[in-house]
């Protein structure tokens, strides 16, 4: 066989292998999406079949199947996620700017402590934080899920931003200092505008992680009117007892993935680059 023919053959083999893997990976998702458009009795009788008609009744019935409608759950989720994104961007960039550019006593120690918090498993602070928020009367409000973000508790984003800020040439801020700019103006007018890639990455991942977060809402939100989408889905599983509401459950699960999927489609390059840098855990 000529070299070229052999090359073509391995290429074809690779593509077959990759396509099989892709189908295997996506099939569970496709099954869920297809099932959400089928009447319940067909979901388990014909697993491979495409839905014969686009039956949206599961979506309508699922949306209002719990005591509170999913409108509220999505509102709650988006409010929390939006505030978390704002909090993380503001607080983490302020901190990162201090660590990357400002001179002050104790900077090295604080920076080392900040890196140390990256290693700390969330379990360690879980109980005392709960006790603290309970004493503040914040349980069953969104505050325990939002306020920590405004206090830059997600050290991971600080680390990401410090790395990026350090890459911005110092000559730029030195020139600004010569022109009489203080640290606030440099931060606001120079650093932030030059840092859109890292800010976007941080925004995307804070949105996804907050939107997907389950343990936080599970601990702090008890009232169904304050539930986020993941909590509502869990309540759905419990209330349906596993029987007869499959279509609605699949419909609501599918729908809950849509926001993350849209973010993925819109910012694919940025997300994949962020992961490739080894910067992001998921």
């Amino acid at each position: 066989m000529s070299r070229r023919a052999r090359h073509t053959r391995t290429q074809v083999l690779r593509h077959i292998l990759l396509s099989c893997a892709a189908v295997l990976m996506l099939y569970p998702l496709l099954w869920m999406i297809m099932s959400s458009f089928k009447p319940d009795e067909l979901i388990f009788s014909e697993p491979a079949a495409l839905p014969t008609s686009l039956d949206l009744s599961s979506y309508f019935e699922g949306w209002t199947a719990l005591r509170t409608s999913f409108t509220t759950f999505y509102m709650n989720s988006f409010i929390i996620a939006a505030l978390a994104v704002i909090g993380n961007l503001m607080a983490c960039s302020l901190t990162a700017y201090a660590f990357a550019r400002l001179e002050f006593k104790g900077r090295k120690i604080w920076f080392a402590l900040m890196l140390g918090t990256l290693m700390l498993p969330y379990h360690v602070t879980l109980v005392p934080q709960y006790v603290l928020f309970l004493k503040f009367g914040w349980v069953n409000t969104f505050l325990p899920l939002i306020v920590p973000k405004f206090l830059a508790v997600d050290a991971f984003f600080i680390f990401l931003m410090v790395q990026f800020f350090r890459g911005i040439p110092r000559e730029i801020d030195e020139a600004a200092i010569m022109d009489g700019c203080g640290p606030w103006r440099i931060y606001w007018k120079i650093m932030l505008p030059l840092s859109t890639p890292v800010m976007a990455t941080a925004a995307i991942f804070s949105f996804i992680w907050t939107y997907d977060d389950f343990l936080g809402p599970l601990i702090y939100l008890n009232d169904i009117d304050s539930y986020t989408v993941p909590l509502a889905l869990r309540a759905f599983v419990d209330s349906s007892g596993g029987e007869s509401l499959y279509g609605e459950l699949f419909a609501m699960s599918t729908l809950s993935l849509v926001p993350v999927f849209i973010v993925f489609l819109a910012f694919q390059r940025l997300i994949i680059r962020g992961v490739a840098l080894g910067a992001l855990k998921r």
Binding site: P47, F104, P121, Y122, L132, A152, L215, Q268
Partner: protein, 306 residues
């Protein structure tokens, strides 16, 4: 009056004030929400605390109970270790395998890469855990396909004590996308002429993999290994949803985090839960230390002399 306290303070402020202004939000968060709670958790781990009455000092009782008597904890540790030791190596193997296939085939790389990465991004959600529960249920997709192909009626995987944990391991492997992307970035750094030279010398594909790819990729493998191991130890949501919040059937999916959550927020044994948190910290630290300790035997960095 340069020597008075207020004078010194104002000079300190002039030199360092801006830095601390910027640092202030983080400083409050660090002291109030991280350092303070960490110390508090350490203290609570030596107490009995049920939230209603104030903590009562109990010395080493929590740790004694954990080490000597708590059979559920022993089980939770076993379940978690089984999960970590199966899911992490398999996930990394799949990630590396597909990264190598992807690295060479030029066309459609970005499509495949995105497709393989998507489950990693979605996988942490409750929706996927809900899907998994149905997928591996008594008449879920897996059993339907199994029946169609082999005629065998499969068990209800998620509610069978022997199989429930393996469905969670499969779910972890399904999310191999992010280590795969990191491997892909690492493979780009391997000089292609090394492979060409090896082919000229007649080295087989397997030999090239062992002698070129693996050693040059060792730092990336190490990075993925540590990161994924720590993440696997912390796993919570998927086990919670798939088992319906119980860690069942018969505690077969009682992950460490799930047990800790139950002790703290279902049984209100806050002191004991704090002790569990510190034990987990120690377990993770030991694993990380082992990884770093052994790394000098198998991880070489390029700027290091061999």
């Amino acid at each position: 009056m340069p020597s008075t306290a207020s004078g010194r303070l104002s000079r300190f402020w002039q030199k360092n004030g801006a830095g601390y202004m910027f640092l202030l939000p983080w400083l409050i968060g660090f002291l109030g929400l991280t350092l303070g709670p960490t110390l508090a958790s350490f203290y609570l781990s030596f107490t009995d605390y049920d939230l209603l009455t104030s903590p009562r000092w109990s010395g080493l009782k929590n740790y004694e109970y954990a080490f000597l008597y708590d059979r559920r904890l022993g089980n939770a540790i076993e379940v978690t270790f089984t999960y970590v030791l199966w899911s992490v190596p398999l996930k990394l193997a799949v990630a590396l395998g597909l990264a190598m296939v992807l690295d060479r085939s030029v066309r459609g790389v970005s499509f495949y890469r995105a497709t393989f990465y998507l489950p990693s991004l979605l996988g942490a959600s409750v929706a996927i855990a809900v899907l998994w529960r149905q997928l591996f249920g008594a008449d879920g997709l897996v059993n339907q396909l199994l029946f169609m192909v082999t005629g065998i009626q499969g068990p209800a995987w998620v509610t069978h004590p022997d199989y429930a944990l393996s469905t969670l391991i499969v779910l972890a492997i399904w999310q191999f996308g992010s280590p795969m992307i990191i491997f892909l970035a690492g493979l780009r750094q391997v000089p292609q002429d090394l492979y060409e030279a090896a082919s000229m010398d007649g080295a087989s594909g397997w030999r090239q993999f062992r002698k070129i790819t693996l050693p040059l990729l060792a730092p990336v493998i190490f990075f993925n290994l540590v990161l994924q191991t720590i993440e696997a130890f912390k796993a919570f949501t998927q086990a919670y949803i798939v088992s319906g919040g119980t860690g069942g059937p018969v505690d077969s999916t009682l992950f460490y985090s799930l047990y800790l959550y139950e002790e703290a927020f279902a049984n209100f044994r806050m002191g004991y839960a704090s002790a569990l948190a510190w034990l987990l910290l120690v377990i993770i630290a030991i694993f990380t230390a082992i990884a770093f300790g052994t790394s000098k035997y198998w991880v070489y960095y390029e700027d290091e002399s061999r």
